[in-house]
Point group: D3
Chain length 135, copies 6
Amino acid sequence: MATVKLWTDEEVASDPRVKAIFDDIRAVRGSDFVNRFWRGLANQPAVLERTWEQLKLVMMSPGSLDPLTRELIYIAVSTANGCGYCVHSHTVAARAKGMTDEQHGELLSVIAMASQTNALVTALQIPIDPEFQIA
Amino acid sequence: MATVKLWTDEEVASDPRVKAIFDDIRAVRGSDFVNRFWRGLANQPAVLERTWEQLKLVMMSPGSLDPLTRELIYIAVSTANGCGYCVHSHTVAARAKGMTDEQHGELLSVIAMASQTNALVTALQIPIDPEFQIA
Amino acid sequence: MATVKLWTDEEVASDPRVKAIFDDIRAVRGSDFVNRFWRGLANQPAVLERTWEQLKLVMMSPGSLDPLTRELIYIAVSTANGCGYCVHSHTVAARAKGMTDEQHGELLSVIAMASQTNALVTALQIPIDPEFQIA
Amino acid sequence: MATVKLWTDEEVASDPRVKAIFDDIRAVRGSDFVNRFWRGLANQPAVLERTWEQLKLVMMSPGSLDPLTRELIYIAVSTANGCGYCVHSHTVAARAKGMTDEQHGELLSVIAMASQTNALVTALQIPIDPEFQIA
Amino acid sequence: MATVKLWTDEEVASDPRVKAIFDDIRAVRGSDFVNRFWRGLANQPAVLERTWEQLKLVMMSPGSLDPLTRELIYIAVSTANGCGYCVHSHTVAARAKGMTDEQHGELLSVIAMASQTNALVTALQIPIDPEFQIA
Amino acid sequence: MATVKLWTDEEVASDPRVKAIFDDIRAVRGSDFVNRFWRGLANQPAVLERTWEQLKLVMMSPGSLDPLTRELIYIAVSTANGCGYCVHSHTVAARAKGMTDEQHGELLSVIAMASQTNALVTALQIPIDPEFQIA
């Protein structure tokens, strides 16, 4: 259960502003399925709009990181932030963009490694090496 | 300042177990510079050894994710975990492995996007869509 | 399922120290409903007592921040800490204290904004401006 | 030290896109001082632009939460996320918007209270009460 | 539901590398029950192997901290990291190693206390006392 | 630099309520040194008082966990929460209560292990085993 109502397709159809965004989500993704995150955000059309526009820009516009790499980074952040829903949805997205089991295993390994050294560094309170300084 | 002594090269030289690992770090990296993380871990040779062995395996062994992608994931996790030292050292490492300013900008964008939707999902307590279920 | 037993009203009734606190919770809130957090804490009467006393003081005593503002801050912290239960219970509490949908939307926007800039600042490791210094 | 160059006013002046945003920051805030966060983001003009536009919208547009309340929420999130820089800059901003010492004390109390109960709930793994369910 | 398949005993039996580790888990723990964490990790035999070997070393080898104390620390970290599954499994493990209700209550108290002062320190941005300096 | 004034001994002496608590801190600890955390909290006497009373109760009252074990748990939580100041002050406190280098190494090992499996469990979204259920 969510802390807000999750909009059904009928409710979405009754609100032109929300409907326009759902239409765009469906068109851009080439799928009729719209996951619950957007159905929860529909309660706040301004946040819905802003989030979807920014997501398109950040995750789908051409650039120097390929779409799968962006999904791996998304999973890494969502894991460290403990967002189970986000881990689920972006693992599905990464697989849809071609993530192999081998790549998933390496992603898990790097996440586990970083989590471990992050904790060690914090427990030891290592001061930053002057060699890391940007000139 | 750290919560432990940071070992100087002289102190390292006086302890054969620690020295062997520092020699390996220098050989593998092809550089005489050993950063302070390892100098702090030197107080605990077993942890030092295990961490270095695992890091070599996870970050440097051949695999399906290239070394730069692994560094980007490492930065993402370290950022979400708030480990400033780790962000510094792995941003330096990513640049050494070829990260361009454009790639850095896209990494920042994905980290910011994920942090934002992680928080929205948590605030809305969105339940996981059945469509995300692994059969 | 919890990691501890959740006390039923009968079990509460059988322990005078716990019963006194539950009676106070019901009296202060003007409602017979006592949520599961307190039923779990009942296993540790000292912690239960201390937590309830502190909560009354912090959330209900007169002061310069009105009760709704305190709930909004509570939701913000609980979201950033990833406590789903706490997000649920304090969103219900905020609504009971008059939070409108518009206010909820603005709360979500600020939480999302802060989460995003927190991550950017950490990834960039921005040093604190001397202008922020307390004299 | 940051992981990126912090742009001086001269460097800003040499880049029309960055200069336009810095001009707007100065105009909107009515102050010549531009803090280091923006000087670090200047390396990524697209991120700089998007962040500043969103910040204006979220923190400064008219709405149902007053500007000080928004700052208190910002501080709460930044504290839970462990972003020292953000805590500093938004505590300064909150004071500029009228936060009194008494309000600061109450903010600290709520943050401490929530952090504590968040941890207790997580350690006890309290399941969500059906009474919290949105119909 | 997990983001990966949870291996059944039959699937485990069909993969010699995974089977060897499951056999060792059962032998070391003296129980036929293998919890789902290992069944999820089975998809990545290298990560499974490394994690189990390290866990045996860290949690079960003789040392200066007794096994129960190690479990208490594990619960504390898992709580602060918001890992519900880990809180569950290690609370069960701590009880199996003799944790009393009184000890659980004191563990909860310390976790709550630390969470609270961590937040206060971060909100106040207290600089480290020179007296804490390692010579 | 802090976000609040750190009270000097002279300022403390001029405020009877704050002075009484500082006197108690010095008496209980048997030392004239009062660290900066308390000097920052002095701006909010009610929070100062409540925090010190709770700290005495939780960390110093007789119980089933010895004082050193409580400090180890405190360090573990503070590390996972990324509170550098707290890691420093409680590592000093743990050493004062007898923590050996060997114990410190084992503490670090458990923290690193838990951080790593916390992340793996979150990335895999392992559902809780029914065997962990409290009857």
